[in-house]
Symmetry: C2
Subunit: 322 residues, 2 copies
């Protein structure tokens, strides 16, 4: 059998973990009995909502920036992001002494805009229903010579995000199933590599909302499908197509893609808050929703859940839980 | 100098810790940089909102019930409580195979009523503006012969609650200040004993809301003052007087009582949720409010904060953060 080469392997994830040691938080794995009862399984919640910047995105961003040459660092970095990637790049850049410009949509949550500026990054806004964000980014790049840090389709980003699953599997080595939220696929691809390397036979599922089912469609057709910008409460999942590098890896090594409804996401957020006292953003709670509403065979099993982020405006949260 | 004898000493807290090992959660100590910046100090948040039943109350309840004789266990236990003590006793009783009856006010939060029943306890309701809860409890007690488990004024309860500070000081031995929410004083007295034993010179402050300032008044007059049932968002702090056993201990060993406003509590809850992704109930966030609004000398210091509980109805939370 021929050896297929994917964008990253477990060695890349391990190397990323070395770079992140002492910089990223080794986030806790939470156990909430009330959620176990509802799911009919033992859930191990990897709390990336407690990661620096409130989401896993810091892992990949720092792993990418830490590998830039001195010359590249001097020219600065550039990112386009609807939120958490922006904050991840902004904080990583500050820690490494690199200038950062972030291109953000005008309708990004106010908390994410403020936090990104708070980390010292320059923010450039654009209307994402009118303009292509890559075009905006390329324009800024042409002016400054800054290095573009892609949100997911980059081996350094993928490997960095995979360290979340590496930590989880090191702490709970006998997981049967792992649910991971999927937007562009950086987190899912990295976690799939790490989990399947440490635990051959583990079933890794990507989770997205029904409204933004580009991964689910792509999985069925076995090729990358493009959809319109989805209208979903999961604002971290508004990508329109799986990544060029992330998709083939996930399609080969993961067990599948499952879909959750907007209401299931809302219920998962609410239960996590009410019973677990932990705040997840909608995208970050999709994985928990998949377990609570049993979107795969999990009865009696040990199930890893990546709670990928916790950045929600309080006004918005109030309407989501009311 | 004569040795003054208080209701409990550090040995009682250590013995309680032995009983609780493997039963209560050893709760995490959270660090949230954004809160440090606001407080101008290093804050170490002891997350008792992540304790079993969502509050520190499980510690004292289990410590008390575990010391009952076989005969006492056979007759069952009884508690009166506005909420978290009820859940603590109910769960401890279930774990030890003891029947529990809980006397609760009719206006207790719905989530606390449901949770108490969910742990298998029998709930008896009474109107706390009309009837004295001790009378109701004594009536039930006369019928069943059950042992009354007081909410705070009991050495076993005080020692159990003190294990929260014992764990915190073992993990962060060089704290300068400790803020502890105070209702009846079970948590404050136990934590004061533990903290001052492990760290002589530490300044321990009890925190209550301005609306329910019975401890603050009692501290000033150096005697226990009785106030009317306070109307405050901190529903875990609706006691009307310090405890007979808890007050003298706290008055002798703690550094003082500080007051926070209703709005300061709301802001602390909101910031903890927004920046720390952790849910505290209003009473549980008073200690954080004391630090954020610098109610004592904390500039540049290492400050322990007991986040005492996280049980809030979601509907109520929505109005608190909106």
């Amino acid at each position: 059998m021929a050896q297929v080469q994917y964008a990253i392997g477990i060695d890349d994830v391990r190397a990323a973990a070395q770079r992140l040691a002492g910089v990223a938080h080794h986030t806790p794995v939470a156990r909430v009995h009330a959620l176990d009862e509802r799911a009919g399984a033992q859930l191990f919640l990897k709390c990336e909502n407690l990661q620096r910047v409130g989401a896993f995105k810091f892992r990949g961003a720092y792993n990418a920036l830490a590998q830039l040459s001195d010359e590249e660092r001097a020219r600065g970095v550039l990112a386009f992001s609807s939120g958490n990637h922006a904050q991840g790049v902004a904080l990583a850049a500050r820690l490494l002494g690199i200038a950062a410009t972030i291109v953000m949509p005008t309708d990004a949550p106010a908390s994410k805009l403020a936090a990104t500026r708070g980390y010292g990054a320059k923010v450039v806004l654009y209307d994402r229903y009118e303009v292509n964000r890559e075009d905006v980014a390329r324009k800024v790049q042409g002016e400054t010579g800054a290095t573009l840090i892609p949100p997911y389709d980059d081996p350094r980003i993928m490997a960095g995000q995979g360290t979340a699953a590496l930590e989880l599997l090191e702490e709970v080595p006998d997981l049967d199933v792992l649910f991971v939220p999927v937007g562009g696929g950086g987190l899912l691809s990295g976690c799939t590599v790490a989990a399947t390397a440490l635990r051959p036979g583990i079933r890794v599922y990507g989770v997205e909302t029904e409204a933004g089912n580009d991964w689910w469609q792509s999985w069925q057709r076995n090729e990358r499908v493009e959809i319109g910008v989805p209208k979903t409460i999961a604002d971290g999942m508004q990508t329109t197509s799986p990544g060029r590098l992330t998709f083939p890896l996930v399609r080969a090594l993961a067990a599948g893609i499952v879909l959750v409804s907007e209401d299931e996401v809302r219920q998962a957020m609410r239960l996590l808050l009410e019973r677990g006292k932990l705040l997840a953003e909608p995208s970050g709670a999709t994985s928990l929703a998949a377990a609570l509403f049993r979107k795969a065979e999990i009865a009696g099993k040990k199930v890893g859940i990546v709670i990928s982020g916790g950045n929600v405006d309080m006004e918005r949260l109030a309407t989501l839980i009311a």
